[in-house]
């Protein structure tokens, strides 16, 4: 074969490959050119019979053709395979705007994440969580907290009592306040101490603004030198942390049997900025909790010497805190278990 013929073979092969439209034809072309008895294979075989000089130049030329053809075959193969895949994928078209595979989205109850928020805010201030029972005795719920049975405060509590059992010498009740944890904590721990108790409490009252069950958080701190000023500092910080903004607080003298002095604590209305609106009844203030310095009788009931130790306690309804922070306007919704409410005000666990 002459060099001219080799050139022709090369150009014919390359143009043939370029025109191929299927992998089958491409394979046929590969066999025809590069197979065991393919045209180019045969040419390479024929090199052995040539004189060294011709073999060197012609061999070089044949090899160049072989490389080019191989490369052309591979490029074509890649292109054809890709085209074939594209064609296949085109047949797999779906409407991606169809709804996704069904998967229910779970949400935590708003009170649940408020409990976590409150617990965290108080933990940051050094208050460690403790617990107490929901069913308790009159002693722990009232008497130990300096509310003897002839105390007018008892009737304010609308207590749920249990039917007395034979031989029962102390009435059992549903705790009306998380303060029932206080005396237990004092008996079980040694000061200095800072504890918080969060839980369900119960009062026999049901109307627009009362549910017979609600939640409270209780804080108790006992140390050598804690004063009313520290109570104020802790509440200011706690409420600011919880509401995630600077809140004004106002302390008003009040009365709780288990603290002396006692105070009710208002926050500046977070809806109107203190200018007066429906939520704050045009006063600019919203009452959020009660607090005070732990009464010496309560310390004594907890086995703590009031001449050595002093401290403060506070208690706060969590439904109210939740309603204020998250804009829920009907207390009863908390316990109605309506899916629509839980979806709207609940949060996925990942967002807590």
């Amino acid at each position: 074969m002459t060099m001219q013929e080799l050139k022709t073979l090369q150009s014919e092969s390359l143009s043939h490959i370029g025109a191929i439209n299927s992998l089958k034809e491409l394979e046929d072309a590969r066999v025809t050119l590069l197979g065991k008895s393919g045209k180019i294979t045969e040419l390479l075989k024929s090199l052995g019979g040539m004189d060294p000089e011709t073999r060197k130049t012609f061999g070089q030329a044949v090899n160049d053709v072989k490389v080019q053809v191989q490369s052309a075959l591979e490029d074509k193969k890649t292109a054809l395979e890709r085209a074939e895949l594209d064609a296949k994928l085109a047949t797999e078209t779906v409407d991606v705007t169809l709804p996704a595979t069904a998967r229910p989205v779970g949400k935590m109850h708003p009170l649940s994440f408020v409990i976590e928020e409150v617990e965290k805010a108080l933990s940051e201030l050094g208050f460690d969580p403790v617990e107490g029972p929901e069913i308790d005795t009159e002693f722990n719920n009232f008497t130990a907290l300096n509310i003897p049975d002839d105390h007018p405060a008892r009737q304010d509590h609308d207590t749920f009592y249990f039917k007395p059992l034979k031989g029962e010498n102390e009435r059992r009740l549903l705790r009306t306040q998380t303060s029932n944890v206080q005396v237990r904590a004092m008996q079980n721990m040694t000061p200095p101490m800072r504890v918080q108790a969060i839980g369900r409490v119960f009062r026999c009252d049901s109307d627009l603004t009362h549910t017979p069950q609600f939640h409270q958080v209780e804080g108790l701190a006992i140390d050598k030198n804690l004063t009313f000023a520290h109570l104020k500092g802790v509440l200011q910080t706690f409420l600011t942390t919880y509401f995630e903004r600077k809140v004004e607080i106002r302390l008003r003298p009040s009365y709780f049997p288990f603290t002396e002095p006692s105070t009710e604590v208002d926050i500046g209305c977070i809806f109107c900025g203190g200018n007066g609106c429906r939520v704050c009844k045009h006063t600019g203030w919203i009452e959020v909790l009660g607090a005070g310095m732990v009464h010496r009788n309560v310390l004594a009931n907890g086995g703590i010497d009031h001449t050595q130790w002093q401290g403060f306690a506070f208690g706060c309804g969590l439904e109210r805190l939740t309603m204020l922070k998250y804009g829920i306007n009907d207390l009863r919704l908390f316990y109605d278990s309506h899916a629509a409410f839980l979806r709207h005000f609940g949060k996925p666990a990942a967002r807590i």
């Binding site: 050094g126 200095p192 009365y255 045009h282």
Partner: protein
Amino acid sequence: MKFSLSWLKTHLETDAAVQTIADTLVKMGIEVEAVETTGGSFAHVVIGHIKERVPHPDADRLGVCQVDVGEGSLRQIVCGAPNARAGLTVAVAMPGAVLPGDFKIKESKIRGQESKGMICSARELGLGTEHDGIMELATKAAPGTAFADTLGEADTIFDVSITPNRGDALCVLGIARDLAAAGLGRLIEPVTALTFEQAAKQKAAIETDGCHFFCGIEVEGVKNGQSPAWLKKRLESIGLRPINTIVDIGNFVMFDLGQPLHMYDADTLKGTLRVSTAKGGEKLNGLNGGKHTLNANDITIVDDSGVIGLAGIVGGEETSTTEATKRIYIEAAQFDRSRIALTGQAHQIHSDARARFERGINPAMTIPAALHAANLVVELCGGKIVGMTQIGTAVPAPVVIDFDPDMVNRFGGLPMQPQDVKNSLEALGFGVTEQTGGQFAVAVPPHFTQMATPEDLVEEVLRLAGYENIPAVLPAAALNRKRDSAPALRLDRIARRQMAALGYLEAITYSFISEKLARLFEGGSDDLKLANPIDAATMSDMRPSLLAGLLDAAVKNVSRAEDNLKLAEIGRTHHAGGAEVLRAAGILFGKGQRHWQGQQAMPTVFDAKADAYALLEAYGIDITRMPVDTNVPGYFHPTRSGSVRLGKDVLMTFGEIHPAVTKELGIKVPVAAFEVNLHLAAKAVGKDKPFVLSQYQSVSRDLAFVVDATTPAGELLATLRNVDKNIVRNVQLFDVYSGDKLPAGKKSIAVSLTLQADDRTLTEADITGICDKAVEAATKRFNAQLRA
């Protein structure tokens, strides 16, 4: 308690503004619930009758009213109040009126509609805080009457809430005393002659330790009747209904000076009037209209006819004054706080007298109040005072408290000089004597009946100084923290988060349920029944299971077309003997959502099991290795439910709810559920194992066993796992078959064993050996045949 500004001014010389008085009351610890102004001039404000209200054509919230203001023709007024409606009598501010806040009323067009005036709310007229709608007036005055003419003289009514420690503030004099101490004016003390030599003819005696002092004044020749206008107005201003002059005087003096009085028709009394103690069983027809049967130890007033009153709480009908009364006996006594409280509680009587006695009355005011009342009777009803009887000592020696003035700082957190502390206490009426060493001996004035400790004095000084002046100080960081003191708090947090992650909506249901539900869920024991449930039919028993409340929630949601849901609750259940158990429960209900990919399956026992297992795995419990039994409570489907135990105690139950239960509750869709005892879950948490990443290849081998159809697959899997715990890494069940290709009563269970060692590549001999042992164990335990 209510009081009016004009009444207050009889005890307080002041020109303080209403707002200043209100703010000072709050600062002193007297909560102001409402301040309302009555009367006023109100030029150009007239009475109107709304004849018609139609919606505003261009504003959803507005209405167009036609109002009769006595002009002959109707006046059109646009009004946005939600309560505006035809038939109301209202206050109309006519063009030209200027309302508080310099709000000038003019004719205008509101969204294209003419409006010739404004219908007013209480707040717009400066008569109160109410602004949720327009005032609905009760007056019968004709349209066009000046609004001011329908009101009384201008006055301001304060409605305050008095805390139980402030018996001293349950009267106008006490309020005035606090305001005077706060610097708002000068206190005007009541002036009354303090003795009356002549003894009353009516005899009296104290036969109980429940009465510390008794004073009786007899007045004869009286003529009872309607009270004069000033007295009626006083009582009406604070919401009391005038009855007759004698009764009205008793009420007036109680609210004025704080001493409850009782007015007897002396001609109805038989023999000596005695303060006594009930034996139990006596009857009393109370002035409150109640018929009371007395308990032993009730504190009573008796005469020779028997019980004529519950002392300090309520008087009896037979001895009360009437229009015909000629001779009266005024009782002003000091009863024991505790006895009054217990007697009042027992009979559920809430009277103004009881409220004052159980909070402590000012003993220094007992005699002056009695005399003041007697003088008023003579002044208004004629007659003359016959005499006065006193038994006991009216004013006991003062309580003296040793007080270190530095305690205001050390305890109260407010730095204050001793002299300032002394001044504050004296302003409040305390007698302060300085002792050597800077200590004070502080004599408590008689009106503060509950003060006994230095902390009480700190509170007094602080409230006068103003709580707002106490600095806010953060305590130093807490040491010796006990972070692990409440692991249960973390237990419920894990459950809450995991349940939400598993697609559950978290509900919080009531801790009390109906007795029927309680019994259905294996509770309802006697010690968990409320004596005073808020609703005996639905909230009588403490819940033994969270599933009861969740099923109730399912009913509610299904009725709102929420019929494909997963609901969860985390909370405590209550059990006989007092145990409270923290649990997490979930229910899945519905017929399966319709979806373009195909309808979802109805929830089954295996959906509940999957979620229960996922929950327990969140605690780090290797739940798949724990055996399952089918001994479950009766509210579960008997053959499609199971439980997992920790020792004898049930850690978790799961399954489909018994169809009889769902039917009973009216749930028409299938329900699967599970409930986990989280206290037990905490105990089931395994120890952390060291981590080893094996360098050697793992292999898997499939085996199929033919066993009896009743053989529990879980037990077969456990047996296979236990063949060699070091090598058998996983046993995956991938097929269960029963049918034509097997003998009747048999099933085939196909599993894939994953085998791997930490220290070597398993040889073919190792693998065959394990497989042989697996087959041998299965054969031995379950009579299993290897399926060809």
